[in-house]
C-alpha cells in the first residue's frame, strides 16, 4: 500500500526499531532532556501525524505559517510546531547548527534531533496570526509567550518507540497502522470525531449525523450485510490536562463504550487517540486537526459549533468558515459541518436545532452540564448520558483517578501517563 499524507506527499515515518541501529545512531551525542509536550510532539513528528513535517519547524516554516497559513513550500499548515530552548541550555549543551543531539525523556533516550536552524520569532505577531489575539488569558497565546528564548528547527528520528500504559495500549495506532486497519475493515470513507471529552448523547448524535453525511451516495448494501464501508473514527486528543477535566482513561474507555455496548455497530465505529496539547486556536486548530486526520487516512472530518475554541475569542462558526478559504485540492479531507443537538421534551428525544421547531421547549446540554450533574453526585438520565458510559466513567474514577473521574492535583502528581519511554 502506498501511504500518501497531507499535501499529497509521502507519509513521514522516521522511526528506528532496531535496538543496535538505535544505539549506534545515538553514540557520542549530547543528551538534552525534554518536557512531556516536546516528547509527545517528537513522537508525533516521527510517526507522521504531522506529515509532511519531518521535524520541528525552522524559521522559514514558522514565518510561512504565521503569514500565509502554509509551510515554506506552500503546503497548508496552521499551527507552528516548535522546539523551544533557553540561551543557557544552548550554551551548556554546545548546540550548533549542523550538530545532532539526543533528546531524552524521563532519563531515557527518545529521539535524535538534527539541528538545522536556531532562531527567535516575534511572539506577538505569532499570537495574532495563529490565535487572532495577543491576550495572555488565551491559553495558546500564554503557551506562545511562555516559550523559552530560542527555537531549534530540524529533523527528528525516533530511536526508542514509546510504550503505552493500559488502557491506552489498546487504542494506540500510528498513521500507517490506522490506514492498515481501515483497509482491513473495508472502509472506503471514514469520518473523524475529534474529542477530548466523555461522550454524552449529543456527541453520539453528532457522530451519527456525520456518519450519514459521510456515507452520502455510497451503496447501503454492504452496510445492510453487516460489513459497513463507512466508519466513524473517534480520535481522542490525549495531552495536557487541567484540574476539572475528565481523566484521559475515562475519555478513551467511555468513547469506546458506545461501540462496546451497541450504540454503534462494531463495523462502523472505532476509537484511537493522538498525542497533542490543545492550543484552543479555534479555526486554525480546526485546520490542524484536519491535517492530522488526513495523515491518519481519513476522508472526512466532523466540525461542530466552536470547534477547538475557548472563551469568546471565536465566533460559533469561524471553524467552519475557514475551510471556505482553503482550495479543495490543498486539503485532502472533506469537512462535515454539524449543528447542536439537544433534548426536546415535546419530541421526547434528543434532536437537533436545524430540524426541531419547539425552540421554546428546548433543553440544551453540554459536556460541562453533564460534568456538573456528575459533580453533584447525580446520575444523568439515559437519554442524555448512556448508563454504561456513566458506569465506565465511575470505574475509571476508582481505577485510575484516585476516586474522581475528574483531574485532581493528586492525579496530576501521581496519575499514570498515557506512555513511558523505557531504557534503550
Amino acid at each position: 500500500m502506498e501511504y500518501i499524507g497531507h499535501g499529497g506527499k509521502k507519509l513521514v515515518e522516521r522511526v528506528i526499531t532496531d535496538k543496535n541501529e538505535a544505539l549506534n545512531k545515538i553514540k557520542g551525542l549530547t543528551s538534552v532532556p525534554v518536557r512531556r509536550q516536546l516528547a509527545t510532539e517528537a513522537i508525533s513528528l516521527s510517526y507522521g501525524f504531522f506529515s509532511p513535517l519531518e521535524g520541528f519547524m525552522t524559521k522559514a516554516d514558522v514565518d510561512a505559517v504565521c503569514k500565509n497559513m502554509t509551510l515554506a513550500d506552500g503546503t497548508v499548515w496552521s499551527i507552528p510546531i516548535v522546539f523551544d530552548i533557553s540561551d543557557k541550555e544552548i550554551a551548556d549543551y554546545g548546540i550548533k547548527v549542523g550538530s545532532s543531539i539526543l533528546l531524552t525523556y524521563e532519563g531515557n533516550p527518545l529521539a535524535v534531533f538534527e539541528i538545522e536552524d536556531i532562531f527567535t520569532y516575534d511572539r506577538a505577531a505569532w499570537s495574532q496570526a495563529v490565535y487572532g489575539t495577543t491576550d495572555e488569558k488565551h491559553p495558546g497565546v500564554k503557551r506562545t509567550l511562555d516559550y523559552k528564548d530560542k527555537f531549534l528547527g530540524g529533523k527528528i528520528t525516533l530511536v526508542n518507540p514509546p510504550k503505552f500504559n493500559p488502557p491506552f495500549d489498546q487504542y494506540w495506532l500510528t498513521p500507517k497502522q490506522h490506514r492498515d486497519k481501515f483497509a482491513e475493515k473495508g472502509w472506503k470513507r471514514i469520518v473523524a470525531h475529534q474529542t477530548r471529552n466523555v461522550p454524552h448523547s449529543g456527541h453520539e448524535w453528532l457522530m451519527k449525523h456525520a456518519w450519514m453525511a459521510t456515507h452520502g451516495d455510497l451503496s447501503m448494501e454492504e452496510t445492510e450485510q453487516g460489513k459497513a464501508i463507512t466508519g466513524v473514527l473517534v480520535n481522542a486528543i490525549i495531552g495536557e490536562k487541567r484540574v476539572g477535566d475528565y481523566i484521559d482513561q475515562a475519555i478513551i474507555l467511555a468513547q469506546d463504550a458506545l461501540r462496546k455496548y451497541g450504540y454503534f455497530r462494531d463495523d462502523v465505529h472505532m476509537t484511537s487517540f493522538t498525542l497533542w496539547d490543545m492550543r484552543y486556536a479555534g479555526p486554525k486548530e480546526a485546520v490542524h486537526h484536519a491535517i492530522i486526520r488526513t495523515n491518519l487516512g481519513l476522508t472526512h472530518h466532523m466540525f461542530g459549533r466552536d470547534h477547538a475554541g475557548v472563551g469568546t475569542y471565536y465566533g460559533a462558526y469561524d471553524a467552519h468558515r475557514i475551510f471556505n478559504t482553503i482550495p479543495k485540492d490543498k486539503l485532502g479531507i472533506t469537512p462535515i459541518f454539524v449543528v447542536e443537538w439537544l433534548y426536546c421534551p415535546h419530541c421526547g428525544e434528543v434532536t437537533c436545532t436545524a430540524l426541531c421547531n419547539h425552540k421554546k421547549e428546548w433543553q440544551g446540554f453540554s459536556g460541562t452540564v453533564i460534568r456538573s450533574i456528575i459533580m453533584d453526585g447525580v446520575k444523568p438520565p439515559r437519554l442524555i448520558f448512556r448508563p454504561e458510559v456513566f458506569d465506565i466513567v465511575m470505574e475509571c474514577a476508582d481505577k485510575y483517578g484516585f476516586g474522581s473521574p475528574f483531574v485532581t492535583p493528586e492525579y496530576l502528581e501521581k496519575g499514570q501517563q498515557a506512555f513511558r519511554i523505557d531504557p534503550l
Partner: protein, 100 residues
C-alpha cells in the same frame, strides 16, 4: 423581568427529601426526561462576582447560560441556604457571606 443566569442544583433523593420537608419541592423543575433541578437565579453582576470567588467554575455562555462546575461543597452550601431561608433568591446573601 430581567434575565437571570442560574446555578442548577441537581436533585438527588437526599436533596429532594430536604426540599419536601421544607415545603420547597415546588421550586424544582424537570429536566432531560428524568432529572430534577433547582435553578438558583443570579444577575450578571452576581455571575461575575461568583466567578471571581470560584475561578474554576464556568459560565456556559454558549449553550445553557448557566453557571457550571462549582465545587460540590459550594453547591451544598447554596442548597442549604435555600432550604434554611425558605426562598430561592439567596445569592446576594451567599456572596456577601463570602466577602464577594
Amino acid at each position: 423581568m430581567a434575565e437571570t443566569y442560574p446555578i442548577n442544583i441537581w436533585i438527588n433523593e437526599e436533596r429532594f427529601a430536604k426540599l419536601q420537608k421544607a415545603g420547597l419541592d415546588g421550586l424544582t423543575q424537570d429536566a432531560f426526561a428524568g432529572l430534577k433541578k433547582l435553578p438558583v437565579p443570579n444577575t450578571m453582576d452576581q455571575v461575575q462576582r461568583l466567578l471571581k470567588l470560584y475561578p474554576k467554575a464556568k459560565f456556559d455562555s454558549a449553550t445553557t447560560k448557566t453557571i457550571e462546575l462549582l465545587p460540590r461543597d459550594v453547591k451544598d452550601e447554596i442548597f442549604d441556604m435555600v432550604v434554611a431561608s425558605g426562598k430561592i433568591d439567596i445569592m446576594e446573601d451567599f456572596l456577601k457571606k463570602h466577602g464577594a
